[in-house]
Subunit: 452 residues, 2 copies
Amino acid sequence: MKSDVVIIGGSAAGLMAALTLKKRAPEKTVTIIRNVINTPIPCGIPYIYGIMGQVNKNLIPDQGFIDQGIEILQREVEDIDRADKAVVFSDGDRISYDKLIISTGSKPFVPPLAGIDKTNVFTVKKDPVYLQKVYTALTPARNVVVIGGGFIGVEMAEQIALMGQKAGIEKKVTVLEMMPRCLMLACEEEFCLEIEEELKKVGVMVKTNCQAEELIGNGGIKGVKLANGEIITADAVVIGIGAQANIDLAIKCGLEADPRNGIKVDKYMQTDDADIYAAGDCASKFSCITGKPSGIRLASVAASEGMIAASNLCKGRSRVTMGALGAFSTKVGNRSVAAAGMTSRSATEEGIEFVVGEVTTPNRHPGHLPGSVSDMKIKLLFRRDNDQVIGGHVSGGDAASDMVNIIATAIQANLTAEQLAVMQYATHPLMTASPLSYHVMLAAENAAVKLR
Amino acid sequence: MKSDVVIIGGSAAGLMAALTLKKRAPEKTVTIIRNVINTPIPCGIPYIYGIMGQVNKNLIPDQGFIDQGIEILQREVEDIDRADKAVVFSDGDRISYDKLIISTGSKPFVPPLAGIDKTNVFTVKKDPVYLQKVYTALTPARNVVVIGGGFIGVEMAEQIALMGQKAGIEKKVTVLEMMPRCLMLACEEEFCLEIEEELKKVGVMVKTNCQAEELIGNGGIKGVKLANGEIITADAVVIGIGAQANIDLAIKCGLEADPRNGIKVDKYMQTDDADIYAAGDCASKFSCITGKPSGIRLASVAASEGMIAASNLCKGRSRVTMGALGAFSTKVGNRSVAAAGMTSRSATEEGIEFVVGEVTTPNRHPGHLPGSVSDMKIKLLFRRDNDQVIGGHVSGGDAASDMVNIIATAIQANLTAEQLAVMQYATHPLMTASPLSYHVMLAAENAAVKLR
Ligand SMILES: Cc1cc2nc3c(=O)[nH]c(=O)nc-3n(C[C@H](O)[C@H](O)[C@H](O)COP(=O)(O)OP(=O)(O)OC[C@H]3O[C@@H](n4cnc5c(N)ncnc54)[C@H](O)[C@@H]3O)c2cc1C
Ligand SMILES: Cc1cc2nc3c(=O)[nH]c(=O)nc-3n(C[C@H](O)[C@H](O)[C@H](O)COP(=O)(O)OP(=O)(O)OC[C@H]3O[C@@H](n4cnc5c(N)ncnc54)[C@H](O)[C@@H]3O)c2cc1C
């Protein structure tokens, strides 16, 4: 069998690559190979357990892709025969390619904890069969410990608590986070605090500055022992402490790759082999702000990289990645928090001097109109040397996600405080802050005053 | 009496100028003079009649400004004595200034219709006393005709219908629009249609391609006669057909100004008199896209200009306006529509060749999550000669307003389809489209494919 383009991995990067190919080079045959029955919407996984209540409600339907003439196979690729330009399966079957895209994504990081192999200890795998097992185990559980207070851990914890409420089985859910705050890698500290407060409001216990040391119990899990000796009772444990690039195939076929950074690609998403591209969580990245290697693994980055890889593959090296940004949002209870780019902490670590502009104001005008969040909050970070925006943090209503994308756009376009302050933004009483205090504008102006 | 800075007009432009002065030159004394008891939130005026139910709920509180040391006077300025640098009142009182900002805004345009002076015929004035009179007259009215289907007319019509529903007095509300569609100057035709559909759903009759010719009745209004002879019964008429720069004072004191374009200012918002700035609806503008004179009169533009005028006034000519953009949003029923920059129509009129990128996709992923608008829609316009974005149109949920501001930012920063397509945007299941179809990204990519 032969396909003009073979894509290994059928999630964000792979699917976006396939769609882009069908748009830019519809004459090419495209085959996606994946080793799972269906692709779950990765970012939707936590909501399986609470809001959705079913693994099946969170699957990406294949039909739309098949309708565009994209072939989808469910198989595990065992090797890549670069000399012969074919992917190889365990039974010896092969599919030849002209061009190959590796989008094998990432695997949950599994910490070297004693007792990690006990039953009812889970990671968050992007595999519906596995996620169903987790569902079954969590359903009766009364004490659940979530190890990791990044966005995966936070969202899982909130939704597991909701799962209990919906079923009338109260679940004591505890999040353990090593750092001083949940979400601290992505968010400013005061925004982390907001999320911790929301977690508490929905009944989740948050323990920060707290290291899990051992998973205890005889076969089945009974509790999590912390470094300080404390034991937290648990009949199920979910580990969400980050993801590791899935580079197994790349290593096997001799492409340059390392577990920390992923498969080496250039800014065209091309590997050392001119016929092989890599995109998404498995591919190496650099920060769009510092230019240094970056460990940001997000669906937004994966989609962008998949689009770039596919475009270059059919038209030559024409599209270039701007580097990974890290634009992200989440919601706990009724509070949405979103971030793009750097935090004060990461900027300081990079030795970047910056100036902050902040605003807290209702997202409606007047503030008593329906849908108002009276304390919608924004914080922008600008470099002192060139006034450019390098980070933005928003909390408030659901529009936080789209508002942070104004900032994401501004960061990627190297806009300055001055530009963001004097720009005009659409405002409307029922949907935004007043024109005198539209969040992005006023925060930029508050910083511009200090940057003079 | 003397004030370092005198500001005539206490609405968007004047208030923003005062706030900016207190931020950038707190040592200066600042006096705002306005000829109304209180400043209504201009954009909130339609919602007085429906959602809010009270004129008083839509006033900008003075206290926040007074707390910052800004003096607010309620008086009518009769003249400006430029030689002596003072504003003059009718009783001969004067206030001297070092610098003056004219932000006298705009007045509703009053069409030369026969019968315009009948009772119960109103315009939409930014004066709480007048708005209360309108309120009193509309309360018992059963047949209301709104002349003008721009955003003021559309919002007034929807809210007057709601006023009736809330009071249990059914009101037959009709909007008359001269052009083929409501909102046609700001929005793409298909988005105009969406709004017209929503108006019908809330019980408002929409008559387009339709010219009011005469207001009939004996003293009191009885109906509106159209150019085609048809008569629409009316016991109240609201006219919202646009606003005209308020240049009376400027003309009186010999500044260059004309009724169409307003008071002549340069890009620093300075008039021909170096000590006098003008900002907001009363000031002349140029389009940030074409550079040509622009009649866009919006609170967002006014706020930006007020900020720029105030900054230059205290620090010399340092801040520059980018030109008026026209970024705007509105909501009728449950549908929000937002626009930034050009429409296909205005681009064609300007002789600009452009390429369109469109997407309709849910604003949640998966699409069945709470808050989903299954057909959130975006349309972007890019110049064919340089690939830059010149217009964007969004409809769907409340986040449309913030999403259109991504486009507003992109237009003002001259970003291209390529840049907007490969950029990364935060996505989250509960708040946005999927990373494979985030509206701005995918619409830009759909255009980029055509621009190759
Ligand atoms: C719980 C959770 C929540 C998240 N929330 C967000 C969010 O809100 N926003 C955001 O931007 N990001 C979020 N992310 C991150 C996002 O999911 C990832 O960045 C994204 O899935 C990466 O996509 P990818 O295509 O690169 O790889 P993956 O999604 O990891 O997919 C890799 C694919 O390759 C297949 N594969 C691997 N090896 C083989 C093989 N040998 N043969 C065949 N197939 C193979 C896998 O089965 C899989 O289909 C979240 C992640 C998780 C786990
Ligand atoms: C119903 C309605 C809805 C709107 N909705 C929106 C919207 O959603 N978004 C948006 O961006 N824009 C909207 N606009 C437009 C927006 O309101 C105007 O662009 C904005 O008000 C302009 O602000 P300004 O300060 O320049 O002038 P104005 O608001 O017109 O204020 C001028 C001020 O000057 C005072 N004044 C004038 N002459 C004198 C004098 N001689 N002495 C003393 N005082 C004087 C007036 O009393 C007034 O206080 C809307 C307008 C209306 C009418």
